[in-house]
Structures are given as C-alpha cells and as structure tokens.
Symmetry: C2
Subunit: 259 residues, 2 copies
DNA sequence: ATCAATTCTCGTAGGGTATACGAGAATTGA
DNA sequence: TCAATTCTCGTATACCCTACGAGAATTGAT
C-alpha cells in the first residue's frame, strides 16, 4: 500500500523548500545559529529509509540519528509529509538523464536509458514504492524527468498533445513497473522469504482448494508448461515484453522518428 | 503509498479463511456461541473503508461498528493484515467476469470487459489503491481474475509461456492504471481539492522557479499548446492510448486470434 | 556593557494505531 | 452438577505525529 501525503497548507513554502538551491538565499544575521540545515535532515531521512525502511524515517528516528530533540526538526521542515516530499524529489534528481547533446542515438535507446535510471533509483531507494506518485513533489528532480521524456517523444512525428500523452504513458508504465519490482524486492528482504518460498508455503491451494473445472484455462496453461520457470522471472520478462509492445504500438501509430 | 502486509505466520489458516465457503464446514456444538461470523467482520471492514477510508477500517473501528470489544475480532480473524486480505479477495470476486459461453466476441472486447470491471471495482473501493498488489490474497476472487485473462490470451496464437506473460502484462497495466485513477479520485475527495486547483496553487513554480533554458522540450510543448486542456483529462487519455498501443503490439507479435 | 529582538531548541501532553495476556462468561455433554 | 470448551474484552505496552510554550543563544543598537 501507499503512503498518503495530505494536503500541505502552504504551497509557496513547499516550493521554496523544494527549490531551495535555485538562488543563493540572503544571509540572515540575527538570532540563534541553526545547528543543522535542510539538506542534512533530508539526507538523514533518505539514509534511514534506505537501510531500515520508510518507517525508520520517522521524525523521532531522524532526530535521534542527528542527535537532536524530535521537535527541533520542525525548525527545518514544516511536517513529516513535507520531509517526505523533499526526500522524493532529492532521489528523483539523482537520475542521470543527459542533456540534448549527450543522449544516445534513437528514441528507443533514450527511453531505455530513462527506464534503466528509474529502475536503478527504485533499487537504491525501495521505499519509493511506498510513496504515492499522485501529486508528486513539484521540484527540480521531478521536472528533470519530465523534461527528458518530453524531449524524447518530441523526436517522433506526433502532435504536441500526443507528445505529452505518449510521455505520460511511458512514464506511467516504466515508473509503475519499477515501483512494483522494487516493492517485490523489498518484501523479499523484509520478510526474508523469496517469492518461490511464498508460493511453496501455499501449495495447499492446489491440493485442497483449487477446482480444475472452474479454471480450465489456467489448468490448460499449467499442463502445457506455461507456468514453468523460465530463464528470467515472469515479472521481469513481462516488464520487458510490455514495454517493447508499447513502444511498437507508439511507433506504428506515429510514423518513424524525425531525427 | 501502499499498505504493507507483513508475512503471516500460518498460510494454511489464511487459506482456510479465504476459501471458507468452498466446502460446508462441520458444525461444532461445544462452547459458547459466537455472536458474529467472518463474513460480517469482512463486510463491515469494507463498508467502513468505502465510506471513511482505509484508516477507518481499524480493528477498533470495525469492533465499535459491530458493537463489540476490539479484542473480540481476534476470535474471527488472526490479525489486521489477514482481515485486509479477506477484504481484498472479497472485492476482487465482485467483478463480473463471464464464463466461456457468455464472453463478448473478440479478444480485445474481452480485455476491455476485464478492464471495465476492474476499474469499476477500484471506483467502488478506492482504498484498494492503498493495498500492495504484491503477494495478493490467494483466494477465489484473485483466481477468478487470472482465469479470465488467461482464457482471453489463450485465444491468441501464443506459446503457453507467452500466454502467461501476456496475461501478466495486461493485468499489471490495467490494474496499475485503475489503481492510480482510483487514488487520484480518492485524493480529490479527501482533500476537497481538484487537480486543477492543486496545480493553480503551484503557479508560482512557473513565475518564480521554472527555468526555460533548462527545459526546452517542455517549453516547446507548452508553447505549441500540448498542455492545454483536451476533451478528456490527460490521465484517462493516456490510459486508453497506452492500452490500445499495448494490445496493438501484442497482436502484431502474435498473429491474429484463433477463434 | 546592557538589553530588546530574533531565532533555534526541545520536553510535555494528547490522540491515534495493533495486539499479548489473562480473567471471566456462556454453553454443552457426561 | 461439573469439567471442558469456546467466546468476550479490559488493561497494558509501544509506537506514531505535532501543538504549545518556556528557555537558550545570538545579534545590533544604545
């Protein structure tokens, strides 16, 4: 399931935090000196979530890790939700998506690069799979991803609106698949149980409950060996297969790339 | 974000609960009479989650609704996680996926039926979008969905393994998209803020932070009207577009349907 | 040197979650 | 009548976020 981020009251404050490195901010001279800064808080949250799961990145957990009182964090971030947004945009920005001059040749290779970077990001930060992708942080990291994919789809012979539609479609597909893969790995890690072991634990299903007559198609595929282990696991193969089919379909509809 | 269901200790007990209506169970005569049954508990959890969100379906919330003490529920379900699994399989089974003799003609129409039923299910039960689809409940509702899609893909000229791969691919695509759409609607409902209003709240992004030079593709699409409101919203259009392209790709690779 | 203004620090308190434990109540068959 | 069985549920523990407000640190002005 996904963590819900509630509506933050002050979008301008949220934007200022997300874009905090955009312009060098004026130095403030008055008052007690801060012992931390926002980057430190965000980095600590990410580190804890990476190693011990999203629940470890609680306000209390981050504060303890930094050696300060819990409430001290509220000087730097307005709320837990906001901290999570900052963590997400930070890791979104870690993807190395090259500018116009350094991209690989061919739009499919460019899509593949986006997919690889995104999947690597989810692998490094599996807790991302527990954060809702709806209303994402509107920060530099998110915008860089959209810029890249819009640029890629712009090389196809599509109308401006269809460029946007295609970009959203590919992003959704890749991000969803990467999220599911990361979540799967995360569950294997936290439960210490592989997917195969999980299924084996449920073998009683077939012996006791499964009704062959109610499930003729499944039975036929089973008898024909369709569920046997393949060279790679089904999820990975399904992801590749689906992405290739999706790009085939887009290309067929659009005509060849322009560059 | 997604709710994590932890590893349940006793898969056999979990299976027995999921398949509780498979065979009429033997009557037990001894001991105090139960005041509830599992179906009542599950139905109450679903009703509360539908109307007040997944957090309302807490053990305390369900117990209060049923007029019993919180701990009484543990007589009927072993844990909160298990209750959630039962709720999920229950609503998965609500989809009306017709048997071999009552299916529409043509595999694409059959896929569309699955997609429509699944989207309607998510619309009725938006909290489903907050439950992880990894390691789903292995119950009658989940199996009925897989049976249906395997039957559909079996009509294409695919190898047994590719039937499975294609079925998994289509399921993942449709379920993910339906989940995102439901989550989006849920957020609009709980925050009372439309997506347009959410973006308007962040218009400062464009005025203050957005750098045209760093985002040439986005700027070009913007100037060409690619982000202007269309007849339907982008998410819905992207979903339809992507599904059609995916089915195009599958069909092109497989050859025509056999029936 | 003093003091007001400003800013950061963080303890306490309150309201939420799941569930282990164990005592007590209800029911049946012997 | 009583032992065995099963259901009921209050209490206690251990987490979570954050509103509030008192106190500490630092600066610039006087």
């Amino acid at each position: 399931m996904t963590v819900r981020r509630s509506a933050e009251g002050r979008p301008d404050r949220a934007l200022a935090l997300l874009w905090r490195n955009h312009r060098p901010l004026a130095v403030k001279a008055k008052g007690r000196r801060p012992s931390l800064d926002v980057d430190e808080v965000v980095a600590t949250g990410i580190r804890l979530a990476d190693s011990d799961g999203l629940t470890a990145a609680s306000m209390g957990g981050v504060a303890k890790e930094l050696g300060v009182g819990t409430m001290t964090l509220y000087t730097y971030v307005p709320s837990k939700d906001e901290l999570l947004e900052l963590m997400v945009d930070q890791v979104l920005g870690e993807r190395e998506l090259p500018g116009p001059d350094q991209r690989p040749a061919g739009w499919r290779a460019q899509v593949a690069l986006y997919a690889d970077e995104t999947r690597a990001m989810f692998r490094r930060h599996p807790w991302l799979s527990q954060v809702s992708p709806i209303r994402p942080p509107v920060g530099p990291g998110m915008l860089a991803g959209r810029e890249y994919l819009l640029a890629v789809m712009s090389t196809l012979a599509l109308s401006p609106r269809d460029i946007n539609i295609a970009a959203v479609t590919v992003t959704s597909y890749v991000d969803s698949a990467a999220s599911l893969a990361a979540e799967s790995a995360l569950i294997e890690r936290t439960t210490g149980q592989s997917h195969d072991a999980w299924w084996t634990d449920r073998s009683e299903l077939w012996e006791t409950y499964f009704d062959v007559e109610r499930h003729p198609a499944m039975t036929a595929v089973w008898n024909a060996g369709g569920f046997d282990a393949g060279p790679v696991d089904v999820a990975a193969e399904s992801y590749q297969y689906g992405l290739e089919r999706l790009l085939d379909g887009i290309e067929a509809k659009a005509g060849p790339a322009m560059t």
